[in-house]
Amino acid sequence: MLESVTSLDVEERQRLEPHDALETKMEVVGLDAWYSTKQALVDVNLNVRSNKVTAIIGPSGCGKSTLIRCLNRMHELVPGSRVTGSVLLDGKNIYGSDLDAVDVRRRVGMVFQKPNPFPNMSIADNVTAGLKLAGVKDESSMKEVERRTLERVGLWDEVKDDLKRSGASLSGGQQQRLCIARALAIEPEVLLMDEPCSALDPTATAKIEQLITSLKQTYTVVIVTHNMQQAARIADYTAFMYLGKLIEYDETTTLFENPRQELTERYITGKFG
C-alpha cells in the first residue's frame, strides 16, 4: 500500500492548474508544514476554485486540518510549528512580507470543529464581534449586520427575540450557525470549515450542509470532513490526503466514481481509514 503513496506527478499538476475557465481563488504551492520535528504536510499543491466548495478528505492524522489551517495562517499559532512553500490568495502569497496575518484572516474566515461562540457575549455581540474588536464603531450598522448575517445562516427567525441572550445558551447546531454568522459578518472572501458538523446531530448537519451549498454563490468554501458522504453531497471538488500528502484532487464526481489512484479507491470504498 505504501509504495502507491505518491505526490501528484508533474503531468497531473499541469492538468489541475487553471487552464480552464474556472478562476483560482487560492493556490497552494509546494507546501510543507511541521509541528516541531514532525512533518505534517509534504509538498502539497492544490488549486482552490472561486465560488466552489472544495472538500478535503482522508483518514485521521493525514494532515487535512493542518492544510486548512495553513490557508489562513492559523497553523503558525502552534508553538514550534513551521511552514515552507507558499499559499497564494488572488495570486499573492499570504506568507509574503507584504501581507499581515491579521489581514489574511479577515479575508479567509474559519469555522471550527466544535462550536466556539464567545461565552461572555450575547448572540448579537457574537455576530458583530469580528467587526467591533477590529475597531468598527458604527453602532447603527451593527443592527443591520446582525439581521442580515443571521438571516444568511437561517438563524434569525430562531433567535430574533433573544438577541441579548448568551451565545452559549443555544443548541449545538445553532451555536455552529452562529459561529458561521460570526465568520461571515466580517465579509471574508474564503470560508474555511474544519469538520464543522462532526459535533452535530443529523438534523443540524443537514441544515449546515444546505447552508454551505448556498454560501458558494458569494464565497469560496474549503471544508475538511471525515465524512465521505458529506463531501460527495456538498463539494464540487474533493482532495484526498494520506500521510501528509495530497494523493488525488479532482471534481468530486470523478474522484468518487473514477479515482485514478489505487489508494484513493481503497479509501473511498472503505478498505482502510
Binding site: 484572516r105 479577515r106 474588536l133 477590529a134 459561529c179
Partner: protein
C-alpha cells in the same frame, strides 16, 4: 477480612475528622479570643480618634485604619496592574517562547522571598533615598509582594479559558492585544478573585512595614511621611507593658481580621456557583 476493611475504613474517617479538628480549633480559638478581647474597645472613637498615651483612657486607632487602607490602596495601584499584565504575558505571549516560563519562574522566586527582605529592598530604594520612612516606601514594598501573587494566579486564570476561544478570536482577524483583552474578559471573575486574595494577603503584612512605612501617632500627612498601620500597631502596642495599649492592639487585630474576612467573603460572592472562566 470484612471486619478489617470496616475497621480501617472507620479509622480513616476518624483520622480525617481529627485532623480537621486540629486545623479548626486554633482558628476558632484565635477568632474567639480576638473577638472577645477586642470588642470592648470598639466604638466610634476607635475609628475616629488618634492612639491614646500610655495609661491614659479613650483614644482610638483611626490613623492606623487610615494608614492600612492607604497602604493597601497604594500597593494595589502598583502591584495589580504590573501583576495583571505580567500574568497576561505568561499566559498569552510567553507560550511560544522561552521568556514566558522564565517570567513564571521569576514570579515563583519573587513569591518565595521573605517579606522582610522585600522590606529591605524598599528601605534601600526609597527610605534611604528620601531619608524618611514613608507611605510610598510601604506601598512599594507591599506592591512588590503582590506582583508575583497576582501574576501567577492571573496566568492560571487565563490559561483556564479554553483555547478554542483564542482561536475563534484570532481566526476573525482580531489582533493579538484585543484577543488578550477578550480572554481577560472571559476570565474576569477569576482575575478579580486573584486580585482580592492578593490584597487580603498583603493587608496582614507587618515585617516589611517596620522598615518602610514606619509608624506615626498622627494622621496621614503626605506620601513622603511615615504612617501608622493596624499591623504595626498590633505589634507595637501588643508588646508594650501598658494595659490600655494592649487593649487597643486587640481592637486593631479584630478590625484587621474583619477586613481580611470581608475580602474573602467578597471572593466567595464573586465566584459563587460560576465557572472560573465564565
Amino acid at each position: 477480612m470484612k471486619l478489617r476493611r470496616v475497621v480501617s475504613d472507620k479509622l480513616w474517617t476518624v483520622f480525617t475528622v481529627v485532623a480537621l479538628g486540629l486545623a479548626i480549633v486554633p482558628l476558632l480559638s484565635i477568632l474567639f479570643d480576638i473577638a472577645s478581647k477586642g470588642i470592648s474597645v470598639i466604638n466610634l472613637d476607635f475609628f475616629t480618634q488618634l492612639p491614646p498615651l500610655a495609661n491614659a483612657s479613650g483614644g482610638g486607632m483611626g490613623n492606623a485604619i487610615q494608614g492600612t487602607l492607604l497602604l493597601v490602596a497604594l500597593s494595589s495601584a502598583i502591584g495589580l496592574p504590573i501583576g495583571l499584565f505580567s500574568g497576561v504575558y505568561i499566559s498569552e505571549y510567553g507560550v511560544t517562547n522561552r521568556y514566558g516560563s522564565a517570567v513564571r519562574f521569576l514570579g515563583d522566586v519573587l513569591a518565595g522571598i521573605p517579606s522582610i527582605v522585600t522590606g529591605v529592598l524598599a528601605y534601600t530604594l526609597i527610605v534611604l533615598t528620601f531619608q524618611s520612612f514613608s507611605v510610598l516606601a510601604g506601598g512599594v514594598a507591599l506592591g512588590t509582594m503582590m506582583i508575583p501573587i497576582v501574576s501567577n494566579t492571573t496566568a492560571e486564570a487565563l490559561k483556564s479559558v479554553p483555547n478554542s476561544i483564542r482561536e475563534a478570536s484570532i481566526a476573525l482577524g482580531i489582533r493579538k492585544w484585543r484577543t488578550s483583552l477578550l480572554i481577560m474578559a472571559n476570565a474576569k471573575k477569576a482575575i478579580a478573585t486573584a486580585s482580592l486574595l492578593a490584597i487580603a494577603r498583603i493587608t496582614g503584612e507587618t515585617a516589611p512595614l517596620i522598615l518602610t512605612a514606619g509608624i506615626s501617632t498622627l494622621w496621614f500627612s503626605g506620601f513622603n511621611q511615615p504612617v501608622g498601620s493596624l499591623t504595626y500597631y498590633i505589634y507595637y502596642f501588643g508588646t508594650s507593658p501598658y494595659q490600655n495599649w494592649q487593649n487597643m492592639a486587640w481592637g486593631a487585630a479584630l478590625i484587621l481580621i474583619a477586613i481580611v474576612l470581608g475580602i474573602n467573603a467578597a471572593v466567595r460572592l464573586i465566584t459563587r456557583g460560576k465557572k472560573a472562566y465564565a
